[in-house]
C-alpha cells in the first residue's frame, strides 16, 4: 500500500484525511506561545547562548586584554592538557562532585524520610535544615573558616579544651577538600530535602497499606516501593547537585581561597584565576570553560538517557 503525499499549501491533511490542527488554528493563536516565551528566550540567548558560543570562539585565540586576539587554533587546549594545575583542579573537581552528589542524594533522602514522619518539632527541624540554603555562600565560607581555623578556630578550641588533637582542617590538603565537601553539602542539602519530601508525598499511600497487609517490613517497603517511585525525584536531585557541584566556587573561595596549595581549587576557580588575575589569559580561561561545559553537558545527557531508560523499563 502506498500513502499519497500530503497536498502542498495551507490545506494540509493527516494521512487519514482529516485537516491538520496546525492549519485550522489562526496564525495569531499559533504565534502567541512563541511571543510569550520570547522574552525568556531573548534573555537566554543574550546571557547564556551568546556567551557560551563566544566562549568557544575566544578559546581559539590568545588575548591578555580582551581587545587584541591572536588566533592560536587549538594551542589553548594543548596548554591546558599539559598543565599540571589544570589536572589537579580537574581531579579535585571530580572528587568534590562525586562526593557532593552522593552525600546530597543520600542525606536528602534520609532527611526527607525523617521529616515526613509525625515527629515532635517537625516544623522546627524542617526550617533548621533549610536555613543554610538561605545564607549567602560568601557568608557560609567565612563562618566556617572562622570555626575551622587551626590556631584559634571555635572547633579546635573545643577539641583542645577536652584534650583532643587539633587538626589543620583547612591547612592539610585532603582534609581541606573533605571540609569543602562537607560545607557544600551542609549548605545545599536542605533544598534537596525539600525536593525529596515533595517526591515522597506524591507516592500513593495505598501501596504501603497493601505492602503492610502482605507483611512487608519497613526496609522492604523502602526498597521496593519508596526507592523505585522516588527515582524520578532522585534523578532531578542528582542532576541539580551535579551542576551545583561543578559550579561550586563562591563559598570555597571564602573558605579556603582554593588552598592549601591548590588542594581545593576546582575548575571554576582555575578558570576565574586565568581570566581575571595577572597574568590575564582569556583564551586559556575560555578553553577551560568549554571543557567544563562539555563535561557538565555530557554528564547531564548521560544521566537523562539513563533516567529515561529506567523509566521505560
Amino acid at each position: 500500500m502506498t500513502v499519497a503525499p500530503a497536498p502542498a499549501g495551507r490545506d494540509r491533511r493527516t494521512p487519514d484525511g482529516r485537516r491538520s490542527r496546525r492549519s485550522s488554528t489562526p496564525w495569531n493563536q499559533r504565534l502567541a506561545p512563541y511571543l510569550l516565551v520570547l522574552p525568556n528566550m531573548a534573555i537566554f540567548g543574550v546571557f547564556i547562548l551568546y556567551p557560551a558560543v563566544n566562549g568557544f570562539n575566544i578559546s581559539r585565540f590568545d588575548s591578555t586584554n580582551a581587545r587584541t586576539f591572536t588566533p592560536v587554533g587549538t594551542q589553548n587546549y594543548e596548554r591546558l592538557f599539559s598543565d599540571a594545575e589544570f589536572f589537579d583542579a580537574a581531579r579535585a573537581t571530580a572528587i568534590f562532585v562525586f562526593a557532593f552528589v552522593v552525600l546530597s542524594t543520600v542525606l536528602s533522602i534520609a532527611l526527607a524520610l525523617l521529616l515526613t514522619q509525625p515527629i515532635k518539632g517537625r516544623t522546627f527541624f524542617r526550617a533548621a535544615f533549610f536555613l543554610p540554603v538561605l545564607l549567602s555562600p560568601v557568608v557560609v565560607g567565612l563562618i566556617w573558616s572562622w570555626i575551622l581555623e587551626r590556631q584559634s578556630g571555635a572547633l579546635n578550641s573545643l577539641l583542645g579544651g577536652i584534650g583532643l588533637p587539633e587538626p589543620g582542617w583547612l591547612v592539610d590538603g585532603p582534609l581541606a577538600l573533605g571540609v569543602t565537601i562537607f560545607v557544600g553539602t551542609w549548605m545545599h542539602v536542605g533544598f534537596y530535602t525539600l525536593i525529596m519530601m515533595a517526591g515522597l508525598q506524591a507516592i500513593d499511600q495505598s501501596y504501603y497499606e497493601a505492602a503492610r497487609m502482605d507483611g512487608a517490613t519497613s526496609w522492604q517497603q523502602f526498597r521496593h516501593i519508596t526507592l523505585p517511585l522516588l527515582r524520578p525525584t532522585m534523578f532531578v536531585v542528582i542532576i541539580l547537585s551535579m551542576i551545583a557541584g561543578f559550579q561550586a566556587f563562591d563559598f570555597i573561595y571564602t573558605l579556603t581561597g582554593g588552598g592549601p596549595l591548590g588542594a581545593t581549587t576546582l575548575m571554576v576557580q582555575y578558570i576565574y584565576e586565568h581570566a581575571f588575575r595577572t597574568p590575564i589569559q582569556y583564551g586559556l580561561a575560555a578553553a577551560g570553560s568549554v571543557i567544563l561545559f562539555v563535561t557538565i553537558f555530557g554528564l547531564t545527557v548521560l544521566n537523562f538517557l539513563y533516567g529515561r531508560r529506567k523509566e521505560s523499563v
Binding site: F56, F69, Q151, A176, G258, T264
Partner: protein, 423 residues
Amino acid sequence: MRRAAAVGFALTAVLLAGCSPGSSDDGGGGGGAPNKLVFVTFTDGPDKATTEALVKQFERDNGVTVELQFLPFSELEQQLQGRLASNNVPDVIRTQNLQPFRDDLLDLKSAGQDVANQYLDEAQKAIKNKDGAAVALPSDLTMNGPMVNKDAFAKAGIPLPPVDKPWTWDELITNAKAAQKAVGSPFAIAYDKSGHRLSSMLNQYGTDFYGADGKVALDQGKATAALGKFVELTQQNAISKDFWIESGTKYKGANDIFISGDAPLYISGNWQVGQFDKAIKFNWAAIPNPCAARCGGYPGGKFMAAFKRSANPPLAAKLVAFMNSRAAQEKFAIEAQFLPTRKDLIAEGVKYAVRPADMAVFLADVKRTDPASYASNYNPGFSPTATELVKQLARSIAGQQSIGDTVNAVRTAAQKNLDAAGK
C-alpha cells in the same frame, strides 16, 4: 519546528564562531564631553581626602568636571581591561602596573605636558612607551621596610636600631624572636604575602629578578640563601606557615597579624604609616631594613597616566601633570605619608606632619637602596614574576618542592614573562 530551531541554533553558532572576538579599538571612549574627565584611581585610605581635594581644586581652576572613581586595588587591572574592551575608557588612571596599558596611553609631551624629566631618573624607563615617549608620571614612590611593636621590644629589653645602623638579618630574627617570647605572641614576624616584599629580601641577599640590562638576573645561590632563610622561619612558625600556604588562617593580610599584636615585627612598607597611625593602639615605629649582602629596602610605586582615547587629551594630560605637580605631591606626602618622586622635592625634603621620625627611616633607606632594584621593579616582567614567586615559595614552605626547584621555577617564569611583555 524542532528542525527549524536546530538549524537556527546551528546558524547562530556558526555566525558567532566565525567572528573574531572583542571590539574595535577605534574611536569612542573617554569621559564623553570635552569638559568632563573621568579619573579612575584607588585608595590606601589616608590619600582619599587629598585626592578629592586636589581634584576639586583642578575643577575650580579649569572650569571643568572631573568624575572621580575609586576602584578596589585588586580589581583595578581587570576593570580597566574590561572598560577598554567595551569602549568605556576613563581619561586618567592611577595604577601600579602600566604594562598592560602601555600602548593605550597618551604621549604627555604631545598633549602639552613635557614634564617627565622632573621625576626620578630611576623611573624614566618605566614611564616610557616603545617609542621612548613619556606616557605616565610616577605619582609616588614606596619603600619596603620593617615596623616594630615598641612595647614588645621594650619588654624584651631590646633597643631598636638607630637609623644609620641597621640590624643584620640574623640580628633582626634573633631580636624578633626574643620580643615574641617576651610577650607570648604566636609569631615573631609578620611578612606581607607579596612577591614585591620578598624582593626586598632577595635584593638584600644580593640578587633580583632582573638586572639593569633588562635581562633575567636571579642568582641561584643568593636566591636559595634568601628563600631558604624564609622557609626556615615558616618551619619554626616564626612566620605564620598557614598564612603563607594560603588557607586556614583568620588573617586576611599580614598587617592583621601585626595590628592584632600577634607578631612584634612586620615587614611591609611606608604606605602603612598613615593607616597604622590611626589603627594601632600600642607604641610602634619603623626601623631600617636589615642588611645581608646589601642594605636598604626595595622601591615600588604608582603611576598616573592618560588614555589616548580621552575625549580631551590636553585636559587629561593637564590633570596628570597637576596631580603630580610640586604642590600636589607635597600635599600627598604631608597628608598621606607618600614618598615624593619629584627631584625637587626629594632634594629639598618633605616636612611630614604625621610620624616624621618613621618617615625619616624610610627616606634614609631610599638612599641606601641598591639602584639596580629600580630596574628590576620597573621591568615589565616583574609583576607576574612576583606573583609566581609567592606561588612557588608556598610549595617549598609546604615541603612539596626544594628551594632550588622554587628558584628554578621563578627564573623560568621571569624569562617567560619578559618574553611575553616584549611581544
